[in-house]
């Protein structure tokens, strides 16, 4: 028997971590190719609302997940088009992607605010009263396990496959990659859309399981925390997962502080994850002494001078 409060805390940690991790993993892939996409928040939002609408209208969760993932991916292709094809500023484009994503999802989700889902992502293994750590891990829903699978797959693809090695090469050195004949534009475009798809999956998790309803601004800065996570993880999938667990734990701990005997205003508790994110980011940058493991060409558009 484990303490019931601890069980609740662990469960909430895993859920918060899943949400952050999947989006961060997608951004990691995008950034590895040298494209910085600050639109994570907007892409999660688009995935969340479109998945929710699909779930309400069709009642099929599988279909809802597909729709959420696809729409966020298509949405990310705007960023890919503007930055890869048209070679415009990645910071500007990404920021606008966030603003556009939030307003667009508010617009299309307006009729669905306050609606309740008849279906919800259920645990894969149904355990009525989980009372051990193993039970908690077994009673998560499908997206949690998908997240673990994606983590292993991403680490494998990046390190062990030709596609992954090329992707990393492009992010590190555009000119050499070009002279080796790598298809830079195509790879970066794909990486950006994959990043969008992951953010979409994270958004679907938000509305079909984590919260489960739709309201404006419900992403609440998680896309930005995901961006910080990529830096925290040093652009490595497993370390990013560790960071997601840490941040997930902090998010889960906040509302529970009072039960552990800390007297704190609920309004202050709400902002602790953001304060801690900043603190962690600062400490991390200090201790890494400049070498953060960032892809060298991140944010630089590729342009081959013609001679």
């Amino acid at each position: 028997m484990v303490d019931i409060q601890f069980i609740g805390l662990l469960n909430a940690t895993l859920q918060a971590a899943t949400l952050l991790f999947i989006a961060a993993l997608g951004e990691l892939i995008t950034e590895k190719s040298g494209i910085l996409n600050l639109g994570v928040e907007g892409m999660i939002s688009i995935g969340a609302v479109s998945g929710f609408i699909a779930a309400i209208n069709t009642g099929s969760l599988f279909f809802a997940i597909i729709i959420g993932v696809l729409s966020a991916s298509v949405f990310a292709s705007i960023h890919a088009f503007v930055t890869v094809v048209l070679k415009q500023d990645q910071t500007v484009s990404g920021l606008i992607l966030t603003i556009l994503g939030l307003s667009l999802s508010s617009l299309i989700g307006k009729k669905y605010v306050g609606k309740k889902l008849d279906v919800k992502l259920e645990s894969v293994v149904n355990i009525a009263e989980p009372d051990s750590i193993l039970d908690i891990f077994l009673s998560q829903n499908i997206i949690f396990y998908l997240g673990i699978l994606l983590m292993v797959a991403t680490a494998y693809v990046l390190k062990r496959t030709m596609f992954g090695r090329r992707l990393e090469a492009i992010g590190e050195d555009l000119k050499s990659s070009d002279s080796m004949g790598l298809k830079i534009a195509k790879t970066q475009f794909i990486a950006t859309c994959v990043g969008g798809a992951f953010a979409g999956l994270s958004g679907v998790y938000l509305t079909l399981s984590y919260v489960p309803y739709w309201t404006d601004g419900m992403t609440a800065g998680r896309g930005w925390i995901a961006l910080a996570l990529v830096i925290f993880g040093g652009w490595k999938p497993y370390r990013t997962a560790f960071g997601a667990l840490l941040f997930g734990f902090l998010e889960a701990l906040g509302p529970r502080l009072q039960t552990y005997g800390f007297e704190m205003s609920p309004y202050i508790v709400k902002i602790t994850p953001y304060i801690i994110t900043i603190l962690v980011l600062i400490l991390l940058t200090i201790f890494k002494n400049g070498d953060t493991g960032a892809p060298r060409n991140i944010g630089i558009p590729f342009f081959r001078e013609n001679r």
Partner: protein, 353 residues
């Protein structure tokens, strides 16, 4: 496609940013029309109503210009910080912090009926904005912490702080259901110029010229550009890049803080969550779309202020106000597309042996 190559144009049209903006705006209106058509609304009716209610009379025009004030000031702040090639995504938080600092000073001082007192209040809001960006600025110059993420996260922190204050120590007992701080005295309201136009707009004009001077005419602006351009050049010229970056961030944050102060003294008259409705985010679009030019920010700020007012009034005929935000964001995307054609040209490949 392989028969064509892309080449960078040697000279870009002086007015290319302006043309790009126009093209972007037309594309955005087109996209907006499509969204309206999907919702079974006649775009021409909606847009003409928006136009009428945002610039059709002295009162509506002054509403639009009042809305432009925070967009312009925050946009100018962003543009100053961008001189050193840094981004300020935290204008939204700085606007709130400006209002909080003003209210803090107001509560802890004896109220006077004088222009000097209002000046001091607004100075407090400027300092509030600077304080808000202090930690991102310090950590940027000392350790190189990514300022995009730190400034963004401060938005959530300051917003949380605002909610904490107006539900706690600052809560006005008279406002029951809507948490807000007590109203400030009418003595410190910013006077009205004409119609409903607040004199904050004059401050806005002064600060536009000031930003233009700082960025384009002053030695400091020149040094900022060098500091942001190349570290080596800065060292060679004896310019402390870190010092310039730090100062630029504090000044830029102060501009956004001032926006919050003016908003409090001219619109809301108290601290509430209504101090800013996403002005800090829209300001990013305003600044980016003009290529960070102060005079451009002023003009586009006025246009976007009108769009925001137009967006809020069309809610009465059942059209979502988000249409205005979507038009604003799409304008920038459209402008980026147009910008491509001004900076690059697609040439047919010449076969040479």
């Amino acid at each position: 496609m392989n028969n064509y190559i892309l080449s960078k144009k040697l000279f870009r049209n002086e007015l290319s940013t302006f043309y790009s903006f126009l093209i972007g705006f037309i594309i955005a209106l087109f996209v907006g029309s499509l969204i309206l058509l999907i919702q079974d609304k006649n775009p021409i009716d909606v847009f003409s109503l928006m136009l009428k209610l945002s610039v059709g009379s002295i009162n509506s025009l002054s509403n639009s210009l009042n809305k432009a004030i925070p967009l312009i000031l925050a946009g100018l702040g962003i543009s100053i910080i961008n001189s050193v090639r840094l981004w300020n995504i935290g204008a939204e938080g700085q606007i709130f912090m400006g209002a909080l600092a003003l209210n803090f000073f107001y509560i802890n001082s004896s109220i006077q009926n004088s222009a000097l007192y209002i000046f001091l209040l607004l100075t407090a809001s400027f300092i509030g904005g600077s304080i808000c960006i202090l930690i991102p600025a310090l950590t940027k110059v000392l350790f190189g912490v990514n300022e995009i993420i730190t400034t963004l996260l401060t938005n959530y922190i300051v917003f949380g702080l605002t909610i904490y204050l107006i539900n706690g120590v600052w809560k006005d007992p008279a406002s029951l259901n809507f948490p807000a701080a007590a109203y400030v005295s009418e003595l410190v309201y910013l006077p009205i110029i004409v119609g409903k136009l607040s004199s904050g707009f004059l401050i806005c004009i002064i600060f536009t010229l000031l930003a233009f001077y700082i960025k384009d005419k002053s030695v400091f602006g020149y040094e900022m550009r060098i500091a942001g351009g190349s570290e080596l050049t800065a060292i060679y010229a004896g310019i402390s890049a870190k010092q310039k970056a730090f100062l630029a961030m504090l000044i830029g944050g102060g501009f956004a803080g001032l926006a919050g102060g003016i908003e409090l003294l001219s619109q809301t008259h108290r601290v509430s969550t209504g101090i800013s409705q996403g002005f800090g985010y829209t300001a990013i679009i305003v600044a980016a779309i003009t290529g960070m030019r102060p005079l451009g920010i002023f003009l586009v700020g006025c246009l976007f202020g009108a769009l925001t007012i137009g967006g809020s009034v069309i809610q009465t005929i059942g059209v979502s106000s988000y249409i205005a935000e979507i038009i604003q964001a799409t304008t920038l995307f459209g402008a980026l597309v147009a910008q491509f054609f001004f900076s690059y040209e697609i040439k047919k490949k010449v076969e040479n042996g």
